[in-house]
């Protein structure tokens, strides 16, 4: 009797939550659906009123605006699609270079924060605090108007050692310039490397069978050396020449020229993100158990070797997840380019919107672009993260 009652009660209890769950979800779904419908209806009415039918046909019309710098040839007579493509390439350029530079600076500053040298430690702290506690947009405006545009004219430009020119048109640095021989060189090297990998695998197999460790690296290295030799004999030329900027008749030619806008965005984004990465690196290194360092010292490892082989690989496990979110921040923050007139994807899309009034389409394109970039970065970083995690046996 009692058990029956209990059963009934528990059954009721089980039933009512299930009803609740279904009902609750249905209500939320209805609510969201209602809001979506309401917004969609208003959107159609408003777009009809503004005479802007939805569609991506406008991408195939002439853009009619110039873009300050383009990695691929672009003229104002080109299509909107090409203009947006140029913008995307510009975005990717600044993100790619920025990610590499910010990692290097961030790790350096993070290690400096833990230096035994009082002055170095406190300078790094000052850097981190100042950069982290002011808005990035303000820093970008400062770099652009107060630093890069305030540089002297080309005739009076600042020349740093190593042929680095700084003037109000931007920065000119020495850069490698490909010669016609680059294709032959590339082909030979690809073949050589492929051969080397094959040989290395064969030698490893050999080693496993015979237990003879000699010549493991000789054959693969020999293959690569051979490919280099063949390439140089064939072309009688280096694959790339160092081109240094030169001042000729009031104009800088040669080298790699970075515009003021690109340089501002790169410097601003890099230094700002590096301040956050420095703190992440510091936290990661301090999270490694003291005993690890002491054990490495007891084994007679030098401080630098201890850092490289013992501390850093362990710190990396703590560092990588927050580092990913900083990488994502850098990628997203590159959209601030619009404030200083660098034609990234956001700036080009914004111009497109101003000219065509296609708010919905431009917004969808922007969302798709940034979500794809974010997704790609987190995917790669998650793969990397998985590869460095401790493998539990």
């Amino acid at each position: 009797m009692v058990t029956e009652y209990m059963d009934l009660k528990s059954h009721n209890r089980r039933l009512s939550p299930r009803l609740w769950r279904l009902g609750g979800q249905a209500i939320v779904l209805l609510l969201v659906g209602y809001i979506a419908l309401y917004c969609g209806l208003n959107l159609t009415i408003n777009l009809q009123r503004l005479n802007l039918p939805f569609g991506f046909d406008f991408l195939k019309t002439q853009a009619g605006f110039g873009i300050g710098e383009a990695p691929i040839p672009y003229r104002p007579t080109d299509l909107y699609a090409r203009a947006l493509w140029v913008g995307l390439l510009n975005s990717l350029r600044v993100m790619g270079v920025g990610l590499v530079l910010t990692t290097i600076i961030g790790i350096a500053v993070g290690i400096a924060r833990l230096s035994t040298n009082w002055l170095v430690r406190h300078l790094a702290l000052m850097y981190v605090e100042i950069l982290r506690n002011t808005p990035l947009l303000l820093q970008l405006l400062f770099w652009y108007f107060a630093v890069f545009l305030a540089l002297p004219k080309v005739e009076k430009q600042i020349q740093w050692p190593g042929s680095i020119f700084l003037n109000n048109q931007g920065i000119q640095i020495p850069w490698l310039q490909a010669t016609p021989a680059i294709r032959v060189w590339g082909g030979c090297l690809v073949l050589g490397c492929g051969l080397a990998i094959l040989l290395w695998k064969r030698q490893t197999l050999y080693l496993l069978e015979q237990g003879n460790p000699s010549h493991l690296k000789t054959w693969p290295l020999g293959a690569i050396t051979c490919s280099i030799l063949i390439a140089s004999l064939w072309t009688q030329q280096l694959p790339a020449m160092l081109s240094t900027p030169k001042l000729i008749a009031g104009q800088v030619t040669g080298g790699l020229s970075l515009s003021s806008e690109f340089a501002t965005l790169l410097v601003g984004l890099t230094l700002y993100t590096a301040a956050f990465i420095a703190e992440i690196v510091r936290a990661g290194i301090t999270s490694v158990n003291r005993g690890q360092r002491e054990a490495a010292q007891a084994l007679g490892l030098k401080p630098r070797t201890t850092m490289r082989l013992v501390i850093f690989p362990q710190a990396l496990r703590v560092i990588v997840p927050p580092l990913t979110s900083q990488y994502l921040n850098l990628a997203k923050n590159s959209s601030l380019a619009i404030a200083i007139g660098y034609p990234d994807i956001y700036a080009v899309a914004s111009t497109t919107f101003n000219q065509t009034g296609r708010a919905v389409e431009v917004l969808l394109l922007l969302m798709a672009t940034y979500l794809t970039i974010s997704l790609l970065i987190s995917l790669l970083m998650n793969l990397y993260n998985r590869s460095i995690q401790l493998v539990e046996r």
């Binding site: 969609g40 506690n133 303000l138 405006l141 619009i338």
Partner: protein
Amino acid sequence: MNKVRSAWLWMQRNLFSTWYNTLLTLLCIWFLVQGGWGLLHWALSLAQWSVISVNLRLLLVGRFPIAELWRVWIGLGLIVAVASLSWGVVQRFNRQVLLTIALALFVSGLLAIGLKVDSTSLLWILAMGGTTVIGYWGGRRLPSLLSPPQLNRYLPSLWFVTFIVVIWLLSGGLGIAPVPSRLWNGLLLTLLMAALSIVLSFPLGVLLALGRRSDLPIIRTLSVLYIEVIRGLPLIGVLFMAQVMLPLVLPAQLELDSVVRAIAGLTFFSAAYLAENVRGGLQSVPKGQTEAAQVLGLNSGLILGLVVLPQALRAVIPAIVGQFIGLFKDTSLLSIVGLVELTGIARSILSQPDFLGRYTEVYLAIGLIYFMFCYLISLASQRLEQQLGH
């Protein structure tokens, strides 16, 4: 003699321990001397600080009507009073606090004289100092009158009431002259936008976090979708969406002014990040807490409201403060969508014919304002964290 010796020892240990440390130290000193000398030379002889002193009011409150400025001061006084009261309650007696207040007063007085502030404002600043001291003293005395649990309950409500009163003071209505939102500029707008959006995004963020943790598939999917899409977009994109799309998806006769649209954008944006922070807090609450509450016979709503959420929110206070700092900095992006907050007003000051090209002075000055706020908030949050940790 002994002191000289110990100083020498300290230097030997901390600056010149090895040859490369010596090299680094010398390099740093060279850098500091070069940079410091250049900056000092520029600041004292080349810079024209009049661009700041002439436009100080514009920077702080923008075009808020001069006749109504008392409302801003009273609002500030209220905030200062409640802040120092809470500080007094939370903080154990500490000579450092009094010293800090005295130093802050001294510096602001010095700044006021240096920037040629009129006597009325000087009186107001003095009144703020007085309010701070009285508030702190009151906060120290309060625990003997009321028991701590009561205090903990009243302080958040006190903050909430203050917040509403300040908004009323600024916007007007109900007996005082209304001030349209386009006259809110400068630092005033920056602070207002940051505070309003974090407060408004709070309920949305908590709901999203609960939705993401829920075992109901539809609710979870919707929450995850919202959070991840917003977090994948740059803020400027979200603000663009709020400025351009909101008028399109709402009926044509409903006109939102750009401040409201910007607040909507910031709120949607920060709710997604807040949700992730709150989710972290929810995960930190041990499962045993829920089970114990179930054993006591509480239903799931009560478990959430009385047991889980209070602990979760308490655990994420530092993260939320960090997010507030981020949001405070991010309000500078509003200048791109046409709002005249601190960065926006700097741009309009720089277009005044008298001060063309004075970028460095203006940007350094507003950078200092941003820095002071962010640094102070993060210091306060570190203290709070220590207090909560005990």
